[in-house]
């Protein structure tokens, strides 16, 4: 059956800053919509394997060169054909606009256009992340040249299965099926993304039938929505919510591994996942089973307050101590709740937590200032980018390499060499072993305490079918996979 002419209404949490993928600063809010319009050079299968889409590739020179072959006959919504010029243009624009892109392509050397359908990326060292990050999305150079900057931004055109129909700022974005799509024709003809920040309202809009589907159902409401006769499906994305330590300062108790271990034992992670979040988020110890380097042996430290107290005593803190506990105050559900719960568990073993919710902009500034400050006292509940991206190397390198981001944990001696090696090991099995090793060190040293991993819950009407798979990891929402019965 062809999709009806009524649009499928999908309520999402936030409005994207822009749909042009090369320009976005807030990928999380852009992706669910822009990935229906734009495509990446590297596509994903439902199992999370990298597969050819608008291009196929070949890795050469031990991971230093990547040759892309563009699929012929692919057209942008503007009618312009997709060529390597567009790839180059997209690359350049991303390089210029997106600091994140620039960082992902750390070892990038140059790009070479061979002909309209072939181009080659050169790297200075083997880059294991270039393909897995799939960061490059393709915009049209011809279109840009023709319409200029403003229109390029306001009426973006991609090669994807849907094209932008309308964007009412602050209200909704309409997309409609691209009838000339090179791939399989999706069933849904039109869809509308409405931005409903307020969780309660988003749920209500599903219940009243205004929305056919909503994203980011808050965990406590999943049961409620199900009871009201709606279908829910889950997508296990990461980043895990974890307790993190700044271990640069030898004068704080949590500088000592024993204390961190005690903390790990003191927190009942299962209770948080099951009672606070009704069992919805996943409680992976570190990596998810499908991830490279997953270690089935690795287990969470169990909840054992007695052991925690004993460890504290051993470490010389029989009567506990005072500890700050920061979190990013914002509006993403779960962080604050987790923080409060962690504080309560820790209080029970004598660690008196001073919770401080700090708004993102200020927190980031603080973290930045703390980076190299050996006097910092920081323990926080936060989501470190852990396995958010297809290859754990990316996350481990950004979070735990001593040159990484506002990092809290350093282990120059043991960890850095392993990570550095993993970063240039193109062979998956070998890299997997390295990752396993690094993770083990992190786990044993209690660099951080994983509590739960983010899980996106989609709720929809019964007649709508949508099963998020690993290919939705960044995209989060691909309308082409939706079937309306």
């Amino acid at each position: 059956q062809e999709g009806s002419s009524n649009p499928l209404i999908i309520a999402v949490k936030a409005e994207p800053d822009t749909l042009v993928p090369t320009d976005t600063k807030y990928a999380v809010t852009s992706n669910p919509i822009s990935n229906n319009i734009f495509e990446r050079l590297v596509d994903l299968s439902t199992e999370g394997k990298f597969v050819p889409g608008i291009a196929s590739w070949e890795i050469m020179a031990g991971g230093k060169e990547f040759l892309f072959t563009i699929r012929k006959g692919v057209k942008f919504h503007s009618g312009d054909p997709l060529t390597t010029k567009d790839v180059e243009f997209s690359h350049n624009r991303s390089w210029e606009k997106s600091p994140t892109y620039k960082r992902y392509l750390r070892g990038f050397d140059r790009i070479e256009i061979i002909d309209d359908y072939h181009c080659k990326f050169f790297f200075k060292a083997p880059d294991v992340l270039f393909i897995p990050t799939r960061y490059l999305q393709i915009v049209s150079k011809n279109y840009f040249d023709r319409v200029g900057e403003e229109e390029f931004l306001n009426k973006p055109v991609g090669t994807g299965p849907y094209k932008l129909a309308a964007w009412k700022q602050g209200d909704y974005i309409d997309i409609e099926r691209n009838e000339e799509y090179w791939g399989k024709k999706p069933q849904v003809q039109k869809a509308r993304f409405v931005f409903t920040k307020e969780d309660t309202t988003r749920i209500a809009s599903l219940k009243t039938g205004e929305a056919g589907m909503i994203m980011d159902t808050p965990y406590p409401l999943v049961k409620d929505v199900e009871n009201a006769g709606f279908k829910t499906v889950r997508l296990y994305t990461h980043p895990p919510c974890s307790v993190q330590f700044h271990n640069n300062n030898p004068n704080v108790p949590w500088y000592h591994q024993k204390v961190r271990l005690a903390i790990a034992y003191a927190i009942d992670k299962d209770a948080i996942v099951n009672d606070l979040f009704q069992g919805i988020p996943a409680g992976y110890p570190r990596l998810a089973p499908w991830e490279l380097g997953y270690d089935p042996e690795l287990k969470q430290y169990p909840y054992d307050p007695e052991k925690a107290k004993a460890l504290l005593k051993e470490a010389g803190y029989p009567r506990g101590f005072e500890m700050p506990l920061y979190y990013f105050a914002g509006r993403s559900y779960g962080q604050k709740e987790t923080t409060e719960a962690v504080a309560l568990f820790l209080n029970a073993v004598g660690i008196r937590c001073k919770i401080q919710g700090i708004e993102a902009a200020q927190m980031l500034a603080k973290v930045r200032a703390w980076h190299n400050d050996p006097k910092t006292e920081y323990v926080g509940v936060a989501s470190v980018p852990m396995a958010f991206l297809p290859d754990p190397v990316e996350a481990i390198s950004t979070a735990y390499l001593s040159t990484g981001w506002g990092t809290m944990y350093f282990n120059k001696e043991h960890l850095d060499p392993i990570i550095e090696e993993a970063m240039v090991t193109m062979d998956d099995t070998k890299r997997g072993e390295l990752i396993k090793k690094a993770i083990k060190i992190l786990h044993e040293d209690v660099a951080s305490i994983q509590i739960w991993a983010n899980t996106s819950v989609y709720a929809m009407k019964q007649n709508i079918d949508f099963t998020p798979t690993l290919k939705n990891r960044e995209a989060l929402m691909l309308v082409k996979d939706v079937i309306i019965k």
Binding site: T200, D275, Y333, L344, N347, E359
Partner: protein, 291 residues
């Protein structure tokens, strides 16, 4: 010449008015104030003691409820009643200190503007105008972004936002009191400016201040709740009603008691404060009816 007019114009004295008891406002307010002050001695459960296994218990009288958790529990298994009692404190602290500081600032500035008039007055009033043309909530959010969230910030923001109304009203009062004969007479008897402000003008504005303050209490509580609701206000582990609503609003359909009771706590307190304000206003000076 009309007796009637003289009677109503005669401003009552605060103390003589306070001898009477405003029953309903006090019935509404007193429990809240008692909770705010004696909270720690009142609650049955430690408001921060969570038992995740007890999460989301409904109020006692609803099936599945537990009489030791009279109003049910929240998502962390904390006793809602105890949390509401604890929350009273934050709300009242914000309200009292915010409104109090705003009063001190606003009244002093208002008296100065009104008494000296001229340039000072002009400058002050332009600032007041400017500030009043930025909606209070927006200004507070901006301030919260500058100062970071938390109790102190909210108190400070409420002070910074609320002083203007005092300043405006008190300036007006001062302008008219200043014209009254007793102030002129004080000048004739060689009272200094400070003495006149302190002994003659200020005491005559206390009625207005009291009325304004009680009416603002309610607004302060609502603003605090609103800011907290937006995530910029009070942060845990502190508890405030706005925070309970804010955290509990997603339970609206599954655990209605959390946002409902917290909302009612706000409503009752604000209602009490407003009623008290009305009562004071009617008693002290019917002229103030327009505040």
């Amino acid at each position: 010449m009309n007796n009637m007019k003289i009677i109503t114009r005669n401003p009552h004295h605060l103390f003589s008015v306070l001898k009477h008891v405003p029953v309903i406002p006090l019935l509404l307010l007193l429990p809240m104030i008692v909770c705010g002050i004696f909270g720690p001695y009142l609650y049955l459960h430690d408001p921060t003691a969570m038992k995740l296994s007890m999460a989301l218990k409904p109020p006692a009288w609803v099936s599945g409820g537990d009489w030791s958790y009279l109003l049910g529990t929240d998502n962390m298994g904390r006793d809602l009643l105890s949390r509401l009692i604890e929350g009273a404190r934050a709300s009242l602290i914000v309200a009292f200190f915010g409104v109090g500081f705003a009063g001190i600032v606003g009244v002093s500035i208002g008296m100065i503007a009104g008494y000296f008039e001229g340039k000072i007055d002009n400058i002050i009033m332009r600032f007041v105008d400017a500030q009043m043309s930025i909606p209070a909530i927006l200004l507070i959010i901006l301030l919260a972004a500058v100062l970071g969230g938390g109790l102190a910030t909210i108190i400070l923001s409420i002070t910074l936002v609320f002083w203007t109304q005092y300043a405006r009203v008190i300036r007006g009062e001062t302008l008219s009191i200043k014209q009254r004969d007793f102030v002129v007479l004080a000048k004739v008897t060689d009272c200094g400016t400070f003495r006149i402000l302190r002994k003659h003008i200020f005491p005559n504005t206390t009625n207005t201040i009291m009325v304004l303050a009680t009416l603002q209490l309610g607004r302060a509580i609502i603003i605090e709740a609103s800011i907290t609701f937006l995530g910029m206000g009070i942060q845990p582990p502190a508890t405030a009603w706005g925070l309970i609503i804010s955290d509990g609003r997603i339970y609206m359909s599954t655990a209605w008691w959390i946002p409902t009771f917290a909302g009612m706590a706000i409503m009752i307190t604000v209602l009490g404060a407003n009623l008290l304000g009305d009562w004071l206003r009617d008693r002290l000076d019917p002229k103030l009816r327009q505040l």
